[in-house]
């Protein structure tokens, strides 16, 4: 599984080389391609939406009963929006869900890893905890952001915050993610696997 380089990234985005749009790499909008596309990665900017936990509304999260009792995920979490120039303060040990500004399509036969940028890392910011992006994924990539540092950090939408590294896969597969076509950060979705979760958590013992 090789890493895709600068020139290959450009080729993957070229309609004259890949006529079928579903096989093309799409990262849009690429506002500053000259700087955003690195030798083996593409910079991704921070989107405008954030999801925070409403800790004062619940005692804990239990994946066994989460959403299964008809409670919408919005009861646990709140979506916030920051416009251009408006900061989002993330405090030490705080966890927030964000997303990339860019909408991305990973071609089949490729996959990606989202990693933080070292500048942010040096400030204690962890960008993504679930970093794998499947072949065929389309959407804004959800970022699980944690301030692991000692001081509050202000995040600004539009600022490059992560980077995606693409790899070529051996076979041709397409993702069937429940987060497909997301245009912002997504609330966790456990519903698709409710039976499985409930089996393992003992919720449907009979």
């Amino acid at each position: 599984m090789s890493v895709v380089t600068h020139r290959e990234i450009l080729d993957l985005m070229d309609a004259s080389k890949i006529a079928d749009i579903t096989n093309r790499l799409i990262i849009t909008p690429l506002l500053d391609p000259k700087n955003d596309i690195g030798p083996i990665s593409v910079d991704l900017r921070l989107g405008h939406q954030f999801i925070i936990f409403q800790r004062h509304y619940f005692s804990h999260l239990d994946i066994g009963i989460y959403e299964s009792e008809g409670e919408p995920a919005e009861n646990y979490q709140k979506r916030l929006i920051r416009r251009q120039g408006e900061g989002f303060v993330i405090h030490p040990n705080q966890y927030v869900i964000g997303s990339t500004l860019e909408y991305i399509q990973i071609p089949p036969r490729y996959m990606g890893y989202v990693v933080g940028k070292s500048t942010w890392g040096r400030m204690g910011l962890i960008i993504a905890t679930a970093t794998k992006v499947d072949p065929g994924f389309k959407g804004c990539i959800t970022l699980e952001i944690v301030n692991d540092g000692e001081v509050p950090i202000i995040l600004y939408p539009g600022v490059p915050i992560a980077q995606i590294v693409l790899h070529k896969t051996d076979g041709k597969e397409r993702a069937k993610s429940s987060y497909q076509h997301a245009t912002g950060p997504q609330f966790p979705k456990f519903k698709n696997r409710t039976d499985d979760w409930q089996y393992w958590t003992g919720q449907n013992r009979e």
Binding site: D14, S16, I21, T28, D32, R79, I81, Y103, H181
Partner: protein, 507 residues
């Protein structure tokens, strides 16, 4: 003594209401908004509330010194307090605009694009204007064509000369409202329904047409119809006195002006929507019209609103006359995208609307009321006159969406939607990309949706949930496309065109 207590108590109530206004607006300022407009309005209301408190105090002090004077003086001061109280209550009503404009209640990602677009269309000078979009629980689109800033200024100036008030209202009270301020509302239930938002073109039209209806044009219309109405009255009312006949003639002329004004205004606004959004305007109008009866008599009971069938007919005529040959659709549309039915289905839908609006039902209905028929017979010439005004005097020719322009990028945008990709641009390669316009994105959503393949019902007769999901996806992708398009436009204005990527950067 009783008077003193009553006035004191009334003063306290007024001051409390002003304080409540201030408090509510300060609270609203702690929330998120998709643009600065609602915050600017809230800031202005906070200052206005303080100003109202000063004015109340000034009136009360004046009253206190008058208490020994005549009851007339006291009555005058109470009247002033009452006027002030009503003004506070009025501004209190306007707080609902701010409250409803909070980010979660609007299609937040496209509000800046909406505002920018509306500004471009409506502003007659370089100073610009502010527009606030907020939802309406009534199922309707709506524009307030009055400049709110101008209205507030006039309202506050009443108190400027009161003793103890030494304030420059524009500088010290309306500080946050620097430009004319307008409010456009959309049906709350349709917040995320991007296709329907082409109807905003119609609302922008109301502002554009407001200067068309001058007293000179009104008199021209009256002159043109006076003889016909006189004949009609003479025929209808043979047994009445000349004075009664004159009175009936006057009444009929008044009604004819109302029918003319309302019909022409609505139709011209529909045409503004066609100018700005092309076929999407017709489709979204029809989507709205289908919820209503297509034919009704445009009488007082319905506020003289013209019937939908007639409106759509006129809009289609204008689209074909002024915007070029959209239909039959160009074959290039089929060239991209997997759906070979795109052309067929969209054309079929357009033809259906055209056929439906061509049916004579509405003409038969109008024929039954001679006065209405007289007015409607004169409308086509006035529509031409009005469109000429809009295109040339109001400068809408610069915003005319022609078929040639629209179809240049549309196939690429439809192809993206078909494949679950945001239709924000035509991207050929890293150095060759064209950002899509607001109108192109809304049209791509319409064309994609009309040519969709999924049936609404499954084979077993149940509702096909996938269609609903596809609709949600289309809305999300299109809303995001408008956000991206605006974001990119602003970025380019700041930093210029993107630097070319050669591919040799890291060799």
């Amino acid at each position: 003594m009783i008077i003193a207590e009553i006035t004191e108590s009334y003063f306290l109530e007024i001051r409390s209401r002003a304080e409540a206004l201030k408090g509510q607006c300060e609270y609203l300022l702690t929330h998120e908004y998709a643009s600065e407009a609602p915050k600017n309005l809230a800031k202005a209301f906070v200052e206005m509330a303080c100003f109202f408190q000063m004015a109340a105090l000034s009136i009360y002090k004046d009253m206190e010194s008058d208490l020994a004077d005549s009851p007339q003086d006291i009555e005058k001061s109470i009247q002033q307090l009452r006027t002030l109280d009503n003004d506070i209550a009025l501004i209190g009503q306007h707080v609902q605009f701010i409250n409803s404009a909070r980010s979660q209640r609007v299609p937040w990602s496209i509000i800046p694009a909406f505002e920018h677009f509306a500004n471009k269309i409506l502003c007659d000078n370089d100073n610009g204007l502010d527009i606030m979009f907020c939802p309406l629980w009534e199922y309707n689109y709506q524009i307030y064509t009055t400049d709110f800033r101008g209205f507030y200024l006039q309202l506050l100036q009443k108190y400027q000369h009161f003793p103890g008030i030494d304030i420059d209202i524009e500088k010290d009270v309306l500080t946050s409202l620097k430009r004319p301020f307008y409010v456009i509302r959309f049906p709350s239930l349709e917040r995320l329904n991007i296709r329907l938002h082409a109807n905003i073109g119609h609302e922008l039209g109301h502002k554009a047409t407001s200067t068309f209806f001058t007293s000179q044009r009104k008199n021209e219309f009256i002159d043109s119809i006076h003889g016909d109405i006189n004949d009609f009255v003479s025929r209808q009312y043979t047994q009445i006195t000349p004075i009664s006949r004159l009175s009936i003639l006057k009444e009929h002329l008044g009604s004819s002006v109302e029918i003319w004004h309302r019909a022409l205004d609505e139709i011209l606004c529909d045409i503004v929507s066609c100018i700005l959004f092309g076929p999407a305007a017709i489709f979204s109008m029809f989507d709205f019209a289908i919820k209503d009866k297509l034919d009704h008599m445009p009488n007082k009971d319905v506020g003289f609103y013209p019937p939908w069938r007639y409106r759509l007919r006129m809009a289609i005529e204008a689209l074909e006359k002024y915007c070029g040959n959209y239909f039959p659709l160009k074959k290039e549309l089929k060239a991209r995208g997997k759906s070979t039915d795109t052309i067929h289905k969209v054309e079929e839908y357009y033809d259906f609307i055209k056929t439906l609006t061509g049916l004579p039902n509405v003409d038969e209905l109008i024929k039954h009321d001679e006065l209405t028929k007289l007015v409607y017979d004169k409308l086509p010439a006035w529509i031409d006159n009005g469109v000429d005004f809009l295109l040339n005097t109001k400068g809408l020719r610069n915003h005319l969406l022609t078929a040639t322009e629209l179809f240049e990028n549309l196939p690429y945008l439809i192809e993206r939607l078909e494949n679950g990709i945001i239709p924000n641009a035509k991207e050929e390669n890293i150095n060759c990309r064209a950002s899509a316009s607001f109108a192109e994105i809304i049209n791509s959503a319409w064309f994609y949706w009309l040519s969709k393949q999924e049936p609404v019902f499954s084979e077993d007769g149940s509702f096909n949930d996938e269609v609903y999901k596809a609709r949600v996806r289309m809305n999300n992708l299109s809303l995001k496309a408008i956000e991206y398009s605006q974001l990119e436009q602003r970025y380019r204005e700041k930093f210029g065109a993107a630097k070319e990527v050669t591919g040799n950067e890291y060799l």
